[in-house]
C-alpha cells in the first residue's frame, strides 16, 4: 500500500473509532461541563467598629451581618442550535457593598447585561464641627454661640460641638447590549448611572490674606450623579478592524454651594460685618460638567509582518454652572461696584488625542515599533477680569492698582511623543531591546512654554538555562526646555496696574523650579532573575534603582530616588497544594530646598541672607511581607486557603536650615498593617458545602499632624478632631452553599 493509501485507511479507521469509541459517558461529561449554580447563606460577625477597616469592604460596624450570594447559570449545551445563556450573580447582598449582575444572550447574535452595584465607604468617625448640619446646604451655628477672634476664646467641647461621620455611598446601575447584525459587525451600547451621596470634609475659610485667615471644618454634602454612555460600532476581519465610538459623561451636583456662618468675631484686616454674627461665607462645590468624545480606532494588516494600529479622538469638556456671588455676606456685597463679568463660566476645553503605531517584524530575529502620540487640550474658555472679595471678609477693591483685580488663566496644553522601539533576538536564548523617544510639551500662560525630553531605553533578557532567566533594563532621559519664567502666570493673572507697583514683579522666588517643568535627568536600572531550581519551585527576584536629578533646580524638588528589592517564592508540588511567599523592600527618598522670606521692606533683606535657606530630606521606607497557601484535602472535599500580609511604612522628614531660622526634628510617620485571612470550605454532600472564613487585621499608625490634635489645637482653625487610625478587627463568617441544577 502506498503512503497515501495508508493515510486514507488510517484516517478512515480513526473516523470509525471516533464515532464508535469516542462517545463519552454523559454523566462524566455533564459533571465537567454543566452549569454550577449556587446559593449561599450564612452569618458573619465583626468584632469592632472601624472606619478605616471598613472603608471599602463595608464591614465598618461591629456585630452580625448576613452572608448572601447567588450564582445561577442557564448554560446551553455546546450543540444547542439556539444557545441562549442566562447568568445571574449576586454578591455580598447582606453588606453595604452589594452587587447584582444579570447577563443573557445568544452567542454570536446578541448580548444583554444589567447590573447594580452599591459601595459604601466610611472615611472617618467621631468628627466634630461647630455647625448644626440639619440644613445641609446652609450651615448654622448654635443659637448661643460665643464667638471669639480665635479658638482660645471659644468653647470647643461637646456638647457644643456636633459629631458626624464621613460616609459616602455609591449606587451604580448599568445596562449594556450588543448585537451582531452581520458577520464581522457588532453594535454595542452601554449606559451607566452612578449616584453618590454622603458627606465629606472641607474647611470653610474667612480672611483675605495669609495673615488673617480663620477657618472651621464643615460637613460638606455630597449629592452627585454621573451618567456615562458608550456606543460602539465594530468591524473585524483578519486584515482590518475598526471601532467607531462615542463616549459621553455627564456630571451633576445637586448641591452647587455650601453656605456657612462665621464662628469668629471680626478681626483686624477684615471689613466690619465680616465676623460673627453677620458674617457668612460660601463654598462652591463641584460644578455640573460634561464630556463628549468621538473616537475612531483602527488596525490594518498591510502584510503578514507590517501592521498599523491607531486611534483618533476628539472631545469636548464643558462646564456652565451658574456662579455664586463674590460674597455671601449682604453687608459686603453692598460694596460691589464691578459686578461679575458673566453669570457662568461657559468653560470649554476641546481635546484631540491621537495614538498611532506601526509595527513590523522583519524576521524572526528583528521586530520594531514606531509610534506617535498627541494629547492636545485647547482651552476655549474666555479670559475675563474678576475683582474678587477675599474670603467673605473685605469690601470690593476695584481700584486700578488693586491686587484683587484678577484674570482667570485658560491654559492650553499639548504633548507630543515620537518613539521607536526595536528588538533583536540574538539567538534562541537572548533578546535585546531598545527604545528611543522624543517628546515635547507646550503650555500657555505657564512658567515654561515648552519642555522637551529625550529618552533612551535598553534591555536584555537571557535564558541562561532551562531553569534560569536573567534580565536587565536601563533607562536614561533628559528633559529641558525654553526659558523658565516663574512670574509668567503671576503676571498674566494680575492687572498691570498692580504688578507695576511691585518690586521684582514676581510671587514665587525666581530660583524656584516647579518639578513638572524643571530640567531633569532621569535614570533607572532594573535587574531581574527567574529561577526554577526544581519543577515544584520557582523564584522571582527584582531589584531596581531610579533617580530623578533636577539638575538646575536651586529651590524646589532637587532630587528623588527610588530603590526596591522584591522576591517571590512559589511552591506547587501538586495540583492540590501550592504556596507562595513574597517580600518587597522599597525606599523612596527625595530632597527639596526652600528659602524663607518675608514681604514688604523685609523682602530684599531676607533674600540677601543665605542663612534663611532650608532643606527637607524625605525618607520613606516600606516593607511588605506576605505568604499564601492553598490546599485541597480529603479527595477535594476540603479546601483551605490562607493569606498573610505584614506591611510596614515609615515616612521621615528631616528639616535643616540656616542659622537665621529655627527648626526642630519631626517624628516619623508610621503605618503598620498585619492581616491574616483563612478560608475553608468542606463539601458535606454532593450539593452542600460549608464555608468558613476568619479574617484578622490590625492597623496602627502615628501621624504628627493628627494625633492629639483636637478641635481647639490651632489658634485660628477649628479642626475636626481627626486622628490617625488604629484598629484590631476580627471577622468571622460561616455559610452554607447549596449547589443546584
Amino acid at each position: 500500500m502506498t503512503t497515501q493509501g495508508f493515510q486514507t485507511f488510517t484516517m478512515a479507521g480513526a473516523l470509525l473509532l471516533s464515532t464508535s469509541v469516542a462517545a463519552i459517558e454523559r454523566e462524566a461529561f455533564d459533571q465537567l461541563t454543566s452549569a454550577e449554580n449556587h446559593v449561599e447563606i450564612g452569618l458573619g460577625w465583626v468584632s469592632e467598629d472601624s472606619a478605616r477597616f471598613g472603608r471599602y469592604n463595608a464591614l465598618y460596624d461591629d456585630g452580625l451581618f448576613l452572608v448572601l450570594g447567588l450564582d445561577y447559570l442557564v448554560q446551553p449545551r455546546f450543540d444547542d442550535p439556539a444557545p441562549l445563556r442566562v447568568e445571574v450573580t449576586a454578591r455580598d447582598l447582606g453588606l453595604g457593598n452589594r452587587h447584582l449582575l444579570v447577563r443573557s444572550g445568544r452567542q454570536g447574535r446578541f448580548g444583554l447585561e444589567a447590573d447594580y452595584r452599591e459601595r459604601r465607604a466610611r472615611r472617618g468617625d467621631g468628627l466634630v464641627t461647630v455647625y448644626d448640619s440639619q440644613n445641609r446646604a446652609s450651615l448654622r451655628l448654635p443659637e448661643d454661640w460665643q464667638a471669639a477672634p480665635g479658638t482660645a476664646g471659644m468653647n470647643l467641647q461637646l456638647p457644643v460641638l456636633h459629631e458626624f461621620s464621613l460616609v459616602q455611598r455609591r449606587r451604580q446601575g448599568r445596562v449594556a447590549a450588543s448585537v451582531n447584525p452581520a458577520e464581522r459587525w457588532q453594535v454595542s451600547a452601554q449606559a451607566r448611572q452612578e449616584d453618590r451621596d454622603g458627606t465629606h470634609l472641607l474647611a470653610g475659610l474667612f480672611g483675605n490674606t495669609g495673615g488673617n485667615p480663620r477657618a472651621a471644618f464643615l460637613p460638606v454634602p455630597v449629592d452627585y450623579r454621573t451618567r456615562l454612555v458608550d456606543l460602539n460600532l465594530d468591524y473585524n476581519d483578519r486584515r482590518r478592524q475598526f471601532r467607531l465610538a462615542y463616549h459621553g459623561s455627564l456630571f451633576t451636583n445637586n448641591e452647587p454651594g455650601l453656605a456657612f456662618e462665621n464662628p469668629f468675631s471680626t478681626i483686624g484686616g477684615w471689613a466690619p460685618g465680616s465676623g460673627f454674627p453677620d458674617g457668612r461665607g460660601e463654598l462652591a462645590l463641584p460644578p455640573d460638567n460634561q464630556f463628549h468624545q468621538l473616537s475612531l480606532a483602527s488596525g490594518w494588516q498591510f502584510s503578514p509582518n507590517l501592521r498599523l494600529v491607531g486611534q483618533v479622538a476628539s472631545g469636548r469638556m464643558t462646564q456652565n454652572e451658574a456662579f455664586l456671588p463674590y460674597t455671601a455676606n449682604p453687608l459686603l456685597a453692598q460694596s460691589i461696584v464691578q459686578p461679575l463679568p458673566a453669570d457662568s463660566l461657559d468653560g470649554r476645553i476641546d481635546t484631540t488625542s491621537v495614538h498611532l503605531r506601526l509595527s513590523g517584524r522583519q524576521s524572526s530575529q528583528l521586530s520594531w515599533n514606531a509610534s506617535y502620540r498627541l494629547d492636545d487640550r485647547n482651552n476655549r474658555t474666555e479670559l475675563r477680569e474678576w475683582v474678587y472679595i477675599g474670603g467673605d471678609s473685605q469690601l470690593q477693591d476695584a481700584g486700578p492698582a488693586s491686587s484683587r483685580r484678577r484674570y482667570n488663566l485658560p491654559q492650553d496644553y499639548r504633548h507630543q511623543r515620537l518613539r521607536l522601539d526595536g528588538q533583536w533576538r540574538i539567538d534562541e536564548r537572548t533578546r535585546l531591546a531598545s527604545a528611543i523617544q522624543r517628546s515635547r510639551t507646550e503650555r500657555s500662560l505657564s512658567a515654561r512654554d515648552q519642555v522637551d525630553e529625550s529618552l533612551l531605553e535598553l534591555s536584555v533578557r537571557h535564558r541562561a538555562s532551562q531553569r534560569l532567566q536573567l534580565g536587565a533594563q536601563a533607562l536614561w532621559a533628559d528633559r529641558d526646555g525654553s526659558e523658565y519664567d516663574g512670574a509668567a502666570g503671576f503676571l498674566a493673572s494680575h492687572d498691570s496696574g498692580y504688578t507695576d507697583t511691585l518690586a521684582g514683579q514676581w510671587a514665587n522666588i525666581p530660583s524656584l523650579r516647579m518639578y513638572h517643568l524643571a530640567d531633569r535627568r532621569r535614570q533607572r536600572l532594573a535587574l531581574s532573575a527567574g529561577l526554577t531550581p526544581h519543577e515544584h519551585w520557582s523564584l522571582g527576584l527584582e531589584a531596581a534603582h531610579a533617580s530623578d536629578d533636577y539638575r538646575n533646580t536651586v529651590i524646589g524638588l532637587t532630587e528623588s530616588q527610588q530603590q526596591s528589592l522584591s522576591g517571590t517564592l512559589t511552591w506547587a508540588p501538586a495540583r492540590n497544594l501550592s504556596a507562595h511567599l513574597f517580600y518587597t523592600w522599597e525606599r523612596l527618598s527625595s530632597d527639596q530646598s526652600g528659602f524663607s522670606f518675608r514681604g514688604g521692606p523685609n523682602r530684599p533683606v531676607d533674600l540677601a541672607n543665605p542663612e534663611r535657606a532650608w532643606e527637607v530630606d524625605h525618607r520613606d521606607r516600606i516593607d511588605t511581607l506576605g505568604a499564601g497557601l492553598e490546599r485541597r484535602l480529603l479527595d477535594g472535599r476540603l479546601q483551605v486557603q490562607l493569606d498573610w500580609v505584614k506591611a510596614r511604612a515609615r515616612a521621615r522628614q528631616d528639616v535643616s536650615s540656616g542659622s537665621a531660622l529655627s527648626t526642630a526634628p519631626l517624628p516619623t510617620v508610621r503605618n503598620d498593617l498585619d492581616s491574616i485571612m483563612l478560608r475553608a470550605s468542606y463539601r458535606l454532600s454532593e450539593p452542600l458545602s460549608l464555608h468558613l472564613r476568619y479574617w484578622f487585621e490590625r492597623f496602627s499608625s502615628d501621624d504628627w499632624a493628627l494625633d492629639q490634635v483636637g478641635p481647639d489645637q490651632l489658634a485660628n482653625i477649628i479642626l475636626p478632631g481627626e486622628s490617625s487610625p488604629d484598629y484590631r478587627v476580627h471577622v468571622a463568617s460561616v455559610s452554607l452553599r447549596y449547589r443546584f441544577d
Partner: protein
C-alpha cells in the same frame, strides 16, 4: 498504486458507512460529538490530565456560533488540522498537534497568538500588535486559560493575582497604607488598564491619565474658573494611583509637596519643622502643618468655580 488507492477508498467507504450506522444508533447515555471533534476527544477525554472537556462549557465550543469555527473545524480551529497527530499522537511516538499551546513542544508565540488573533483582533484588541505585552513576547495563553470554565484573567477574584504575579512592584504598592481598593476587590486592574494594548499612557483604556481618573471622579473634571494647572494636566503629578505611604495617595507628604511648587513670601516659604508641632498649651502649633496643613485653608486644590476662589479657598 491505483489498486492500493482503490482499496483504501473502499475501506473508507465501508468504515464511513459503518460509522454512520453506529452514529444513528446513538447511545443516549453517551455524548455524541461531530466527527471532527469526536476524533480528538477519543483520547482527550474526561480522564485527561488537562481538563480538555471543560471547553464544552465555554463560548469557544458553541457550535451554533460560526465565529468559533467549532462546527466547521472543531479543535482544529485553534490547534490546526494536525492530521499527523490524529494518525499517531506524540505520546505514541508520533506528532504533536500543529499548534500546541503548552508544554515542551509548544508552537512559537507568534503562531500561538495568531490562533487567538484570527478571531480576537477587533474591539478592545485592536491595539494588541506592538503593545507592551506583545512586544515583550507574551502569549495569550500566558494569562488566559481557554479550556477550563474559569479563565483566571477574566475572573474578578483571580485577575489581580494573575497580573501581580509578574507586576511585583504594583503588588507591593497595593499594600501601602493609602491605596485604591484593589486589595479589597472593589477595583480590578482592567478597570483602568487594557492589557491588550491601551491607547493611553501605561496602557490605560482612556487616552489620557486624567480621562481615566474622571471616569470615577467626574466632579474633578471642570473646567474650573480658577484652575490648578498641574491638576488640569496630569493627576499623577501629585498622586500615586496604586498606593502611597501618604494620605490621599499623594506622592509626598504635605505641606512639603505643596512647597515644591509654591515658594512665595511669608507662610508659603516658611521652614516647617518640629517647631510647628503642638506645644504644652492650647492653642499652639502651625496651621500650615497640623490637621490638613495647607488644605486647612486652600480646600479646593483641584480647582474652584467660585468667583472669589482665586487661592483655591472658595
Amino acid at each position: 498504486m491505483i489498486r492500493a488507492s482503490r482499496a483504501g477508498l473502499l475501506v473508507t467507504v465501508f468504515l464511513l458507512t459503518a460509522s454512520i450506522v453506529l452514529a444513528v444508533q446513538a447511545d443516549p447515555g453517551k455524548v455524541q460529538f461531530p466527527e471532527h471533534i469526536a476524533n480528538c476527544v477519543r483520547c482527550h477525554d474526561a480522564g485527561s490530565d488537562y481538563p480538555v472537556l471543560e471547553i464544552f462549557a465555554t463560548p469557544h465550543a458553541v457550535l451554533a456560533d460560526p465565529r468559533t469555527g467549532a462546527a466547521e473545524l472543531g479543535c482544529a480551529a485553534c490547534h490546526g488540522p494536525s492530521l499527523d497527530h490524529a494518525r499517531l499522537p506524540a505520546r505514541a511516538g508520533g506528532s504533536e498537534v500543529e499548534v500546541a499551546f503548552h508544554g515542551d513542544r509548544k508552537a512559537s508565540t507568534q503562531i500561538r497568538n495568531q490562533a487567538c488573533l484570527s478571531c480576537h483582533a477587533g474591539a478592545d484588541m485592536i491595539h494588541w500588535h506592538g503593545s507592551a505585552h506583545d512586544f515583550d513576547g507574551l502569549a495569550c495563553v500566558d494569562c488566559h486559560r481557554v479550556h477550563p470554565r474559569q479563565d483566571p484573567a477574566l475572573d474578578p477574584f483571580q485577575q489581580v493575582q494573575a497580573c501581580t504575579s509578574c507586576h511585583q512592584a504594583q503588588h507591593a504598592e497595593f499594600h501601602r497604607p493609602f491605596a485604591h481598593p484593589v486589595r479589597d476587590g472593589q477595583l480590578l486592574c482592567t478597570d483602568c488598564h487594557n492589557p491588550h494594548g491601551g491607547v493611553g499612557p501605561s496602557d490605560l483604556h482612556a487616552m489620557t491619565v486624567n480621562e481615566s481618573c474622571y471616569s470615577c471622579h467626574a466632579e474633578k473634571r471642570g473646567p474650573f474658573l480658577w484652575e490648578h494647572q498641574p491638576v488640569r494636566e496630569d493627576c499623577s503629578l501629585c498622586h500615586q494611583p496604586h498606593g502611597s505611604a501618604h494620605r490621599d495617595l499623594l506622592t509626598q507628604r504635605t505641606p512639603f509637596l505643596c512647597q515644591q511648587c509654591h515658594m512665595g513670601q511669608f507662610h508659603p516659604s516658611t521652614a516647617l519643622s518640629g517647631t510647628g508641632l503642638p506645644g504644652d498649651t492650647r492653642p499652639s502649633g502651625s496651621q500650615s502643618m497640623l490637621g490638613r496643613d495647607c488644605m486647612n485653608c486652600h480646600v479646593q486644590v483641584h480647582g474652584s468655580n467660585h468667583p472669589a476662589g482665586v487661592g483655591q479657598t472658595r
